[in-house]
Amino acid sequence: MGILNIMIAESTPNLFVDDLETPPLPLTTLAWKRFKRHRMAMLGGVFLILLVLYSFGGSLFVEEKYANFTNPPIRLNTPSWQHPFGTDTVGRDVLARTIYGGQISMIIGILAVIIETSLGILIGALAGYYGGTIDSLLMRFTEAMLNIPEIFLLIVMAKFFGNKIPNLTLLGRTFSGSVVVIIVIIGLTSWMYLARIVRAEFLSIKENDFILAAKATGTSNTEIIIRHILPNSIAPIIVSATLGIANAILSEAYISFLGLGVQPPTATWGNMLDGANNYIESAPWLWFFPGLLILLTVLSINFLGDGLRDAIDPHSRAI
């Protein structure tokens, strides 16, 4: 997301100039101090905790069975005391579905980012550390992937991997195989920016004296990468991963909205919106609540990520 970086770079007034004059503090304390001062980030964090509580804590009050319980005679009922968010086209409770849908959406967001980050670090590190042919090949590949708008890639990949993975049973719950597919394709289509960031970090760090020294003492490449360079470039990776979660949740929503994502009855906030076009007028509650939850989650994560950047990676404010 090109815009993301820009957005984050300048989203808050430059409040921290005087930090430079305060006496040195331990890094984490300093970061926390900076973070606390970022009011919107704090608010985002609080909101995010509430949303996580809603999705994961909600399952203490509502069983998954209930979320998937169909009751056709009460289909498309307007919000009421029994069903505060109304019912869907087969009479399922929308509130319960937003709870379980939230879980899946968030799990997808987090797991996709793990794939994304691993890939991004791997490719960025290889390219940045080794340079030369490896670098230019990997960067051409990165560039090629960046060139095609993400949504097109997602659609094509969703068709490519679609339905090749059977349903999974995990902790007594059955997940549609499409959940795995979505996680994988989001991971596969979003690592490029991170790879570039990591590569740039590696390029600059590998010229440092301590790396040259490590090399001279015969430390293996793998060890240098993992023990020396990576820890020093962790800040931008953390920031990028945090924002990546918002992006992944959005991607899931887009692809599910287009009907190519997670298949029902497994609910996600995205696939609850599938077919919403037909209910804009007649049943706005079908799309309003999941849409709002997506917006709130993405917003909170963006605020949080912004604050994190200011706190742990203040130098990366430039594009």
Partner: protein
């Protein structure tokens, strides 16, 4: 400069080649274009076998890619199923400007299918781009000049919301408000689908009217992001020495803001706008789907559904070319605007 442009173009060619291979491999597994062929029942077995042969879908992927790239008019292909080629192929291949015939709109070249929709997408894109640039300049400059004011904070928050807004949500919401609710309240309401009302015809007024909601939906994200960006570059520029000098010299404020500061602040914006084309095009897919805009994005979705490889590949390659070209253009414009940059 010319050498630099040539260099960039030469760099773009292997890139596009690379992209085409990635996409082609993905596309080979997209489903069976002759499974139903848009019908309500599955295609008969004998017809499936014959069509696969006649359309060249039975060939190995490498051969199919090669035919797609370089055509098959120099080789004999087997149409009647006896295993011996007897007719020369008629495809010229992408390298010679032939993207093949659509597997959906049989008898229509893929490029013609796409070409009919490009203007519709362009109208939407250009309008959205205008709204984004003008809107973000307005908002960005305003909040830069009123830094830390209530309005500034308000705009900051609002732009964060705008930036986090999924396109489909703003689209559905705006449809609900401006079409459904306005109609309910007896206010003049906006149309939600299509490009014009067939009862009235394809007049400019109709098209503009139908464009309002889709353009709004596409613009919000970028508008929010750009206005933040413009605000910060403005603030940065306003702190530069030459602006301070100008201020000290007592130049009128509007002149400082609009001529000196804005001019210099707009430099990085050009880059950003040029590089965000993929994002904008991506947004068009969802928007065109929701608002039934007969553009390229909807075409893409419709034809992906039926595994129409020539058209889908055509759209993706055109987009890739557009993105590459825009990157080069951006570089050129940037160099032209900023005299400090000289490409060796």
């Amino acid at each position: 400069m010319t050498r630099y442009i040539l260099h960039r173009i030469l760099q773009g060619i292997p890139l596009l080649f690379f992209i085409s291979i990635i996409l082609f491999v993905l596309m080979m597994n997209m489903g069976d274009p002759i499974a139903t062929m848009g019908g309500r029942t599955a295609t008969r077995p004998a017809d499936r076998e014959r069509l696969k042969r006649q359309l060249g879908l039975d060939k190995p992927i490498v051969v199919q890619y090669f035919y797609w790239l370089a055509g098959n008019d120099w080789t004999k292909i087997d149409l009647d199923g006896d295993g011996i080629g007897e007719t020369y192929g008629e495809r010229k291949g992408v390298l010679r400007g032939d993207f093949g015939y659509s597997l959906v709109n049989r008898g229509k070249p893929a490029l013609a299918v796409i070409g009919e929709r490009i203007p519709n997408t362009l109208i939407l894109m250009v309008a959205a781009e205008l709204v984004i640039i003008l809107g973000s300049l307005l908002v960005g400059v305003y909040s830069a000049l009123h830094q830390y004011s209530f309005t500034d904070h308000f705009i900051t928050t609002l732009s964060f919301i705008g930036y986090s807004m999924p396109i489909f949500f703003i689209a559905l919401l705006s449809m609900y408000i401006f079409a459904v609710l306005f109609k309910r309240w007896g206010l003049p309401y906006l149309p939600t689908v299509g490009m014009f009302d067939p009862q009235v015809g394809k007049t400019a007024g109709q098209v503009i009217l139908h464009m309002i909601l889709p353009v709004l939906s596409i613009s919000v994200i970028s508008l929010a992001a750009y206005s933040r960006y413009i605000r910060s570059t403005m603030l940065e520029v306003m702190n530069q020495d030459y602006i301070r000098t100008a201020k000290a010299k007592g130049l009128p404020r509007p002149q400082i803001v609009y001529i000196h500061a804005l001019k210099n602040a707009s430099l990085p914006i050009v880059t950003v706008i040029g590089l965000d084309l993929p994002l904008l095009l991506g947004g068009a897919v969802v928007t065109e789907r929701i608002f039934a805009w007969p553009g390229m994005g909807r075409l893409f979705l419709d034809h992906v559904e039926r595994g129409d490889l020539p058209v889908v590949m055509g759209i993706l390659m055109l987009i890739s070319v557009a993105v590459v070209v825009f990157q080069i253009l951006t570089d050129i414009v940037y160099a032209w605007l900023d005299p400090r940059i000289r490409f060796g």
